[in-house]
Symmetry: C2
Subunit: 343 residues, 2 copies
Amino acid sequence: MAVTILDIAKETGRTCSTVSRALNNCGRISDKVREEILEAAERLGYRPNSAGVALQKGRTNTIAVLLPELGNPFYADLLHYFKRACAAQGYDVAVYDYEYSRELERHLLQKMYTGFCDGVFAAVSSLEYTGDLIKRLWKAHVPVTILGTSQQSDFLQCYDYVSVDHCNALAKLFSYLSEHGKRHAVKTEICITKDISEYVKDKIMGIFKETAGQATLNFYDLKPDNSSPVLTGISAFQKIMKLYPETDVIIARNGMELYGMLASSRERDIRIPDDLMFICCDNTWLNQYSSIPILAIDQHTEELAKNGFEMIYRRINSEKWLPADRFIAETTTVLPKFSNNNK
Amino acid sequence: MAVTILDIAKETGRTCSTVSRALNNCGRISDKVREEILEAAERLGYRPNSAGVALQKGRTNTIAVLLPELGNPFYADLLHYFKRACAAQGYDVAVYDYEYSRELERHLLQKMYTGFCDGVFAAVSSLEYTGDLIKRLWKAHVPVTILGTSQQSDFLQCYDYVSVDHCNALAKLFSYLSEHGKRHAVKTEICITKDISEYVKDKIMGIFKETAGQATLNFYDLKPDNSSPVLTGISAFQKIMKLYPETDVIIARNGMELYGMLASSRERDIRIPDDLMFICCDNTWLNQYSSIPILAIDQHTEELAKNGFEMIYRRINSEKWLPADRFIAETTTVLPKFSNNNK
DNA sequence: GTGAAAGCGCTAACAT
DNA sequence: ATGTTAGCGCTTTCAC
């Protein structure tokens, strides 16, 4: 069986507490005894048991991150900054992705309920599906920060929340388009539920009407392909151009989707019109170095991540359970790095 | 404080053991009492405590995956299959990436030593850096499977191991090049230590000499840029073409590196010669839908992942500690999806 | 079918 | 400086 501090205690003729002090190098202990104990621990092949520590201390020094997909550079980016913030305070980060599976998402959120981590940073698919679990976590005083889901009144005040200022981002974007003479935009959407989808489209349309002058905006409902996020975009491009032939702007949700769109045009050897502008609602290396110039919206991932962590950290270290917090990041419109030269 | 089974026991006038039986729905228990207890658990907001369970049961039903980077589609792919295999046996997967940081890598491997997971699937950077920790895990009978690091005699028989048959993959590749009249290949390498680097290059050169006829092969030592894997490739392409102007094949280590190379050529408006062939040692959507035709080596990630899990699973469920296991996957050479049309 | 009790590995308050 | 002791939350064997 595994070596425990008791084994070390016996071996060295000391007690558990002394061994614990030696191993953690805390409390009063003589150098000689500590050396002796550390040596014995090494010799016997002692392994600290995290379950024992966690049970005793009531914390794990781990923060869990729940994501819909790894391999999307946007999340990789976000994670990078989040981990940095965690590391600065001595927290490890465990990443869980649910691959857009509703059951897995719920299963993982349930797991968060068991105190195996001290806090959670979660990009949930939709509160429609997970709201009950989020609410439960909130009631149980598990520090959870949600990334970028639109608010729903049912669950207001039931979670901390970081997001970009979508409305403002779109307003800026639409005025930019208008100023540059664009007239026929298409924006992709994923329809999770009819209600939400309609609500979101109405809202976007409202912003569009206010900022884009005479232009028109159409929505294209994506058929999500769970096996690869790129595939979602693959089928979209041609259908969009067929449905709306006069399109001069396509607004994609993220780099991978856009990558798929561009790939599909290449694959079937379809020429991309020179005046067609691509816009991407995140800003990763995927767009930054694309072969086609892309206008991107930088979501300020570093700020999102930092604030997400801080909300969690504050809760971990706060005596009382504070009211729900919000952080809304500004966005930046990023112009393409090099000009359109696809002849 | 948190609600425990004891609280439920008091509430219902039962004992811990009965409550435990009810919650886990095991052992003999009357339907009526079970209902009663479950209702109370719900009402009181009971949360099972994973540390308590783990301590008692001696296992966590979690497998940890250690990776150098998320956001690389190769690892995302591998993870997808690995998770599927784990889920089939009821294991959760926690992902840890060390972002190519040596300290973080060691820190995480140390964490694996504390029994917080039942097994580890690890893509370590180099056994040169981590061999001591791997050896220690092995001695402590922690099921660890290493992904694709070349064997080093010091640590032989100290870990389970899955990898592709690199030699064979290269042999196939080189003959293909030779048959297609390629004469001047450049392969990128990352030099971790001088010794290993020399050893690897010698070995590759040996294979090349045997299979590639009159052609020449040069190595290009990458300057790794830790902030983004794509950036590693960015600086490489032009330097390669300057150092070896007659190059007609570039063999990149992975899709992201290659993406960086191609991006750098676009960014600085450099025309890629029509007869220049790109080869990528993995096969992800990044190459599959590249704007430039790419010859890829499919590493059979599904097989790697499946076998990696099975090795871990076998150890978890085996009474005695078996000798080190190996699995070497075949590779497939994948031709570009569409032909070279970058005019 | 249910309860009593031991114990998983560890830490920390308290006693010496 | 070191030892004693209680207990974190849970499961499981063994009585009854």
